[in-house]
Subunit: 301 residues, 2 copies
């Protein structure tokens, strides 16, 4: 038990350093891709212990709103959370990186990545996270590129990761009340408690591979033409993103319940959204094509 | 017990008739006020038993999105809901009217009213509901008019209703994660189980008094000038409305969990919303005045 705790503590520091390094790497790369706007940084302190660094870029050339946050907080576990985690531990430590990029062009997909490492005071510890893509129009080669990049990272560590985490992602990001997935998926994992040392290396590779999975899609689609109808569809479809984050997202609800910094938690919400009653795309339209794809999980690679 | 059940069943039918009549009265009055658009109606059937009538007016002269719905559904009580209601009843019957009006002008407040009557198969029955106002700019006389109209309706039935239900409303519509109320309140009540016969008469008066509470405010503010900055503020502040409805609203979460018709449940969401990271109104501005008012419950009458 003693050695378990020591391992966990070393992982805590390594994870926190990894996430901070990724934040620097990713925000500087995204600034280069955007070419117009830069990230603005807010450092904040958690009411119990620790804090975070929230970086936001708004109204850029490519990104309408991009948020890349890290946090490392510790504190007492509320009864509600202890009950939900089914643990008798009294304290938690949580460190993570979370990013959501909302491009201005409806031809470029929204993307999300989260990597987190959590320790409880009884020695329990796990990794969670993933990356997933939310397009407004279906470009099969983009979906394949995103999934293939993630699969290659997974396969380096275990041939079982991609099929397992891909399925988990399809299930987790399914909006039952809409009968639709939030997007075309990616990978998702949570409560990974075994072989933490080697899993850390996978998490590291995933974090470092994020830009390879996403930026080529941005470069490929940034000059794709679009007009008001496509922008309008993007605003309507973004409503699903807001619904997911506020109704279902574990990170958002965890943050709200543990009284984290609201603006850092809700940075993931789209910059602009429309809710049009019972909007139905025209039969045979590209918008309807997206909804058809979102109704059933698909193997992209 | 037998007579209790009979009373409840008669109330069930009277409540459903009341709500349907109110829906007709309110939608025809709102069409007259709007002067341009009319309500479109969708009848739907609940997957268990019953259904509803959803009426929506969009892109009107006054109302950007107005939804007025009634429903009367029955079915098996899920374990989740039975646990939350702390009941051993197996079936429920729920009838209600729900309306949310989002005006186009930021000078006219958004308004919400809900009236509902619920029966369980073990004879338990209660009323819930209320009405509350969400302005984007503070007009004290509007807030006073709204509250005074509600208070007069309350006082006709019991001098205790208004102070009790007003406080309940302030508490229920407080967004802890924002440290702000959703709006300037009104009245809210739930699980009212005593004297159902006489409480029905109060619910009837409240439903019939809704137009008196709200329409004079619309008429008073509809020619108030505004520009892009005020419209932008409305879009940003509407984000709080979406956050409340998706994170907290009992009716929304009940509807989603009981697998009601999604478009009817989410008709309450604003037509257009902006989430700007960490938006802070200028010191001394009218926008800041609103946030100051929303931080602490206020006695308007």
């Amino acid at each position: 038990m003693q050695s378990e705790t020591q391992t966990a503590t070393a992982l805590r520091d390594r994870s926190t350093r990894l996430f901070r390094g990724l934040q620097d790497l990713i925000t500087s790369s995204l600034e280069a891709v955007d070419g117009r706007e830069v990230f603005r940084e807010d450092d904040w302190t958690h009411q119990q212990s620790g804090g975070g660094i929230t970086r936001i870029l708004q109204n850029g050339c490519i990104f309408e709103k991009a948020g890349v946050s890290t946090s490392a907080v510790s504190g007492a576990l509320s009864d509600l959370l202890a009950g939900r985690l089914n643990t008798d531990a009294k304290e938690f430590y949580a460190t993570g990186i979370s990013l959501v990029l909302h491009p201005s062009s409806p031809m470029i997909p929204t993307v999300h990545m989260n990597l987190r490492y959590i320790e409880l005071s009884n020695g329990d510890a796990w990794f969670g996270g993933g990356a997933d893509l939310t397009p407004y129009y279906v470009f099969e080669d983009d979906a394949r590129h995103f999934h293939l990049t993630l699969k290659n990272i997974c396969d380096k560590h275990s041939r079982e990761y991609y099929p397992h985490f891909k399925k988990w992602c399809d299930e987790y990001f399914f909006l039952k009340h809409r009968g639709e997935a939030r997007g075309i998926g990616g990978i998702f994992f949570d409560y990974v408690r075994e072989n933490l040392e080697s899993f850390f290396l996978f998490v590291e590779d995933l974090g470092n591979g994020f830009l390879d999975a996403y930026i080529p899609i941005v470069e490929h689609r940034k000059n794709e033409p679009f007009g008001k109808p496509e922008k309008n569809w993007q605003l309507i479809h973004r409503g699903r993103y807001a619904e997911f984050n506020l109704l279902k997202d574990r990170g958002t609800l965890f943050g709200i319940e543990t009284r984290g910094r609201t603006e850092s938690i809700l940075m993931s919400l789209p910059p602009e959204v429309k809710w049009v009653y019972n909007y139905q795309p025209a039969l045979g339209s590209r918008e309807e094509e997206l909804l058809t794809v979102l109704r059933h999980a698909k193997e992209w690679v």
